[in-house]
């Protein structure tokens, strides 16, 4: 009941008033809980969801941040959807076929897929949205996810017209997509908002105002009814949605919650049913006091230290290995990063479908053996406790990064005798320094996969990748990645990617530290999010409100 009394919503108040009248009117009956039950069942089912920060945009092709992605998954439906487990299920496409060469996908769009205004969703809506995404004029940051589609890269580079994109509407309900090369993870890309359809008449009529509640036309389980920047975004159930019968929530309210401490307070005060994050410095308190509501799940991300391989001292492979060996990951997970993060010995997060995890060669050694080997390598590189190396760890200003850096610095000091300086920079400054590879020696980094395939991790380390801040460049690696991108046989492709990661890990261009987890506080009455029956959300943290419900 605390949830209802705390919700400052006219409709809920209405319910409270009527229930009070009901209580007075029926005297004896009202004192029994059974009499109240039918009334509560009629009340609106509202979920209050903490959502990190104010979304940058609710335009599917323009949006690029995680908070917006949660809202867009509720507002729109792509060709494919995701089950609570994260598995890909049919969405607006009821079925699809893939040609033998893996280059042509044909999607059959379901007859009852409709926009919120009742108009049918057509293949042309997808073509329009995708052409819009790759069009340079749109300025879409995530258009690169559509790069596997034929001509997409040339269109983005301004060399071809958007109409030449390899996606055609054969008829209203049939969409044919030609790819530039086989892309086994193509369906996974289609879960991202950049591939969602948009309603052309609304976009053209309202221009940059088309995402406002009054103008927006969407095709998902919910529709947008209120957008108050920095205050809240209210979605209501969309009765036109083809699968509306399965949607239980009447409303979802998203709140921007930049401060995790403030978010936790709002949760404890009953104003939120679901938090976006959990403040790291309060995990111990949460475990002691509200452990039942604390949901920790594996996440598709890795926290690591990168070495700048283009400059001394870390152009020396022995030194890189020594410094990676000397990090005691167990102590870090025990004392510093304590939410249940997993010590990392690989770059690709283990547990991807069909991918046999590849680990650094020292994974099975004890820390004592690692430390001994580390010091040996350190000496071979020309340093010792009497002739120590001075290195610099650079990270973006943040308490957690700082704690980790201090701990690692002391490990390097005690195992190797290295002198370690810590340098922190404001985030955007840090990104620029890291990219320049001029001043950096060891730098903090993290990577969250965009889709459930090793490619999303390994593509970073191609020598021509703009995200390769270590300067790692290996022709053999590039060759394997190239072969993998052309390989149609899934098993063979995985083997190629595994070999590529082997090369990458052996070079110790990075020291993987831990694999991320997602942390949420979830009220016990919120159901429908459990991905594996063990109380975890799925590994992508894609929790669609269409599956959620409240049971009190």
């Amino acid at each position: 009941m605390s949830f209802i009394t705390k919700t400052k919503d006219g409709l809920v108040h209405g319910f409270l008033n009527s229930s009070r009248a009901f209580l007075i009117g029926t005297g004896l009956l009202a004192s029994s809980m059974a009499a109240l039950a039918p009334v509560s069942a009629q009340a609106e089912m509202v979920l209050n969801r903490g959502n990190g920060s104010e979304p940058g945009s609710l335009d599917p092709q323009i949006s690029e941040d995680v908070p917006a992605s949660h809202i867009l998954r509720d507002l729109y439906e792509g060709l494919v959807g995701e089950a609570p487990s994260g598995d890909i299920v049919p969405g607006d496409a009821e079925s699809w076929t893939v040609s033998e060469d893996g280059l042509t996908y044909t999607f059959k769009i379901r007859d009852d897929a409709k926009w919120t205004n009742g108009e049918p969703v057509t293949a042309g809506d997808f073509v329009y949205a995708w052409q819009r995404a790759v069009d340079p004029k749109t300025g879409s940051e995530y258009s690169f996810l559509l790069a596997p589609i034929k001509n997409a890269e040339d269109i983005t580079a301004g060399k071809k017209d958007p109409s030449e994109l390899g996606a055609k509407a054969i008829d209203d309900k049939t969409l044919e997509v030609d790819l530039a090369g086989p892309t086994p993870y193509f369906l996974g890309l289609l879960t991202h908002s950049v591939s969602y359809p948009v309603y052309k008449p609304a976009v053209e009529k309202f221009g940059d105002q088309w995402t406002r509640p009054d103008n927006s036309v969407t095709n998902g389980a919910f529709k947008l009814i209120e957008w108050n920047p920095q205050s809240r975004i209210v979605l209501a159930k969309n009765d036109q949605y083809w699968n509306a019968d399965s949607v239980k929530l009447d409303k979802v309210i998203y709140y921007p919650t930049e401060s995790t401490t403030a978010e936790l307070k709002r949760y404890r005060a009953g104003e939120l049913d679901w938090t976006y994050e959990v403040p790291n410095d309060q995990i111990k308190w949460i475990r002691d006091n509200m452990n039942d509501e604390f949901v920790v799940s594996n996440y598709l991300g890795v926290y690591y230290y990168g070495f700048n391989m283009t400059k001394p001292p870390f152009d020396n492979a022995k030194l890189r290995e020594a410094f990676s060996l000397a990090i005691n990951r167990d102590i870090l997970m025990d004392k510093i990063v304590t939410a249940g993060e997993v010590p990392a010995y690989s770059y690709v997060v283990p547990g991807m479908n069909g991918y046999d995890p590849v680990y650094v060669n020292f994974k099975d050694m004890t820390q004592k053996e690692r430390n001994e080997k580390a010091y040996k390598l350190y000496q071979e590189a020309g340093y010792s406790k009497d002739n120590p190396l001075t290195v610099e760890i650079r990270y973006n200003t943040n308490d957690n990064h700082k704690k980790i850096a201090i701990a690692i610095a002391s490990m390097w000091k005690s195992v190797l005798g290295a002198n370690v300086n810590l340098v922190n920079e404001e985030f955007k400054v840090f990104l620029e320094t890291r990219k320049a590879k001029e001043k950096t020696q060891v730098f903090r980094a993290g990577w969250i996969g965009d889709y459930n395939d090793p490619n999303t991790f390994l593509e970073l380390w191609k020598s021509d990748s703009g995200l390769n801040d270590t300067g790692f460049a290996d022709p053999e690696y590039d060759k394997l990645m190239d072969e993998a991108s052309k390989e149609q046989d899934s098993a063979k492709r995985m083997k190629l990617l595994e070999s590529a990661e082997r090369i990458f890990l052996d070079a110790n261009a990075v020291a993987p530290i831990y694999h991320y987890v997602t942390k949420h506080m979830i009220k016990p009455y919120v159901k429908g999010w459990d991905a594996d029956g063990k109380g975890h959300v799925n590994v992508l943290d894609h929790v669609r409100s269409q599956y959620l419900y409240i049971e009190k």
Partner: protein, 306 residues
Amino acid sequence: MLGFTLKRLLGAIPTLFIIVTLSFFLIRTAPGGPFDKERSVPPEVAANLNAVYHLDEPLWMQYGRYLGDVIQGDFGPSFQYRDFTVTELIFRGFPVSLTLGGSAIFLALIIGTTLGTLAALKQNSKLDYAVMATAMTGITIPNFVMAPLLTLVFGVYLRWLPVGGWEQGWDQVVLPVIALALPQIAYIARLTRGSMIEVLRSNFVRTARAKGIPERIMITRHALKAGILPVVSYLGPASAAVITGSVVIEQIFSIPGIGRYFVQGALNRDYTLVMGVVIFYGSLIILFNLLVDLVYGLLDPKVRMQ
């Protein structure tokens, strides 16, 4: 007085011009740009984005374009909140910030002057010491400490008041306004007390008393009018303090005011948003100082003569 007002308003133009120019070039010198993210975009995409927002033009040309737009009242599109223009964000946020800041100043004025006057009347009594001690505490505890404390006690433990949000109920206003007003209450109470003590010893008060004017009227009509002058001149800095304070308060209480855009805009290198807010705040403070001077003139004939 009209001439004075006009002169001051004209004098504000060069000030604003300097503010625009300085903030434009200062934020551009900060490393990183609006579209730099942990996941950086491919070069072609970055080029497209820069073209969409004219960031590919030489800086002087962007400056000229921006200045031209600002004169027409257009602050441009936000880089971070791409579905909104800066003007729209400011005009949505301002009523909220104004309600918050205005209520805080109003509350501070009423409570601060009352407490200060009481303390002055009972100088060196227990009441005086209590007020001054509380005031001292209020000034020394920063609001980023006070605000979370208030939410913890009244929101989480007692559950009397909500700990965040806005627009969904009047009770959401209470804690943020108190948190924002507390240091100002304290400061105003001290100011009032000091100045009232002085005024109560002055000749015209003695004369008034000698003429047998009832004490209550003497204080409210005569003494307070003179005693409140330092408080009036403090209102200028106070409004600035409330604006900067609201940056913190809005963050802590999840209030959709302009203060939050200031911080986030700077961190995101949302050039247009930061400048829009700076210009807006700048104009506001100039305007407020002008108002304070006018009110001062009304209260103190000596100032009006000059």
